[in-house]
């Protein structure tokens, strides 16, 4: 059984979300070193929902499940237009820093870290599920 909590859809929620992740890892006996990448994945997906989910007005639900082998992160955004993050165009990391244009980098980071990234849209609710194998 995992943990679920809803957070106001603004960037100031990030601190409380990070505390939520740390508490979950501690309760499951998972190495706290994994908090860095879990925080990063959640921040990128959460801020993406805050910025781009059309019609979004409700709190965003974050779910955590897992053990010492694998962590599953779920973000659920209620009553929004569809925004399939798995279809975001890949970033060309060979483009020199001085020529980079903003955008897309957050999802690129999620793809680099995650072992799987899935999107589901049903009844105007967006659900993103990420799994990450934990290797100490």
């Amino acid at each position: 059984m995992g943990e679920r909590q809803r957070f106001p859809r603004n960037f100031n929620s990030l601190k409380v979300i990070s505390e939520f992740v740390a508490a979950f890892l501690a309760a499951r006996g998972i190495d706290p070193a994994h908090a860095f990448e879990a925080d990063l994945v959640i921040e990128e997906l959460f801020t993406n929902m805050v910025k781009y989910a059309g019609g979004g007005a409700h709190d965003i639900e974050i779910g955590l499940e897992g053990d010492r082998d694998v962590l599953t992160i779920t973000l659920r955004d209620f009553d929004v237009d569809a925004f399939d993050v798995t279809r975001v165009r890949p970033v060309d990391t060979c483009t020199p820093a001085g020529e980079r244009q903003p955008g897309g980098l957050g999802i690129h980071l999620v793809r680099q870290i995650a072992d799987s990234l899935e999107y589901e849209y049903k009844d105007r609710n967006s659900t993103i599920t990420v799994t990450k194998k934990l290797r100490s």
Binding site: F11, L14, S18, D39, L40, E43, E44, V91, T93
Partner: protein, 94 residues
């Protein structure tokens, strides 16, 4: 909590978590710089794409003014984020 401490000769020290909640305030402070900059990242605990974005923006602005922007003493997990983003190949990181 995120902080930028400024020292002599274009030396900066970043500490804490540079996330989306802190990036706008950080950019305002970085935008006041117009000289070659060395950024000590030893106490930078966390960075996201929002943080990368403002450092990249500052690098591009200073480059346009003919100045360098160097990042030093980065923790491995923070450096990994630069590597994932492909920025380690282009930014000056020591």
């Amino acid at each position: 909590m995120f902080e930028i401490q400024t020292g002599e000769g274009g030396y900066l020290k970043l500490s804490g978590r540079l996330d989306a909640a802190e990036s706008e305030r950080a950019l305002t402070q970085l935008n006041t710089l117009s000289q070659p900059i060395t950024v000590d990242c030893s106490d930078l605990e966390y960075i996201s794409s929002a943080g990368l974005g403002i450092l990249l923006q500052t690098y591009k602005r200073l480059l346009g003014l003919g100045h360098t922007f160097k990042l030093v003493n980065m923790q491995p997990r923070v450096r990994n984020v630069f590597t994932y983003a492909g920025l380690d190949k282009f930014l000056l990181i020591e």
